[in-house]
Symmetry: C2
Subunit: 129 residues, 2 copies
DNA sequence: TCTAAGGCTTCCAGTTACAGGAAGCTCAAG
DNA sequence: CTTGAGCTTCCTGTAACTGGAAGCCTTAGA
């Protein structure tokens, strides 16, 4: 199967698929004309990767997860460990964003947003909280 | 004042300060020995930038905000507009992270995390939600 | 006076996960 | 036989820095 169809079926842009091959996440065969020839197993892997990326896992995490997926001797604890660390990272990102959001929304509310130059947002940035 | 002291006073690493000069956010003078010579106004700007970055504004937003800050003829509506757009972006990032968090925490909870290979996390990634 | 340690300089590479675009080969249709 | 779509590789750019190398400047101590 050519990259175009794979792209549709796996839900990933061709550029991304080529990139994943570049970094060794998938290894499609090649046809005589030089085109990539994907097997069902490649598509399966790509879809796996797409879903892992949707959950926010880094490429390196994805590589690890894919390795574990293909390793019959894995222990679920290994998978869980990767996922838990990622969950922690997500939590701290959320906390950071919420903190930004809080400050920023106060400032936005305090700003008149009219034609005059006076602005609490700039004042805050200028002198700190 | 040299970059080291400015770094401490503005709370930004020297590398970052040099970078900000590179991209034209600050324009410190130069001493005869070639060292950067920062004025109080430079430090003030750098601190402003540091706080704007802490609130998650992009460098380009920071450039805009700094420009507005120094523009006596600004209208607060311009500032508010930048801030509101950023707030919206923050909100959608939070929403996205929360969505990831929800799925992922369900999966993590469902995974035994023991020595056996069976893992709901991998199963989910393999076949999608 | 010489030296060694910092601090400063510039410049180049690496990071993350791709996207855009150019130049050129291949294939299917009319 | 030509045209257009699809494929290939390769190079560049993105965001916002960080790390490191090579080398100049300054200052304190032996």
């Amino acid at each position: 199967m050519n990259i175009g169809e794979v792209s549709e079926r796996a839900g990933l842009p061709p550029k991304t698929i080529r990139y994943y091959e570049d970094i060794g996440l998938v290894r499609p065969l090649r046809s005589d004309n030089g085109y990539r020839a994907f097997r069902e197993s490649d598509i399966h892997k790509l879809a796996f990767l797409g879903r892992a990326r949707t959950l926010g896992f880094s490429i390196e995490d994805c590589r690890t997860l894919l390795g574990l997926y293909e390793d019959e001797t894995r222990e679920s604890a290994q998978v869980k460990s990767v996922a838990k660390e990622h969950l922690t990272a997500i939590d701290s990102k959320i906390a950071q964003l919420k903190s930004m959001r809080k400050t920023l929304s106060h400032l936005v509310d305090a700003c008149q947003g009219d034609h005059r130059p006076d602005c609490p947002i700039l004042e805050d940035l200028a002198k700190g909280s």
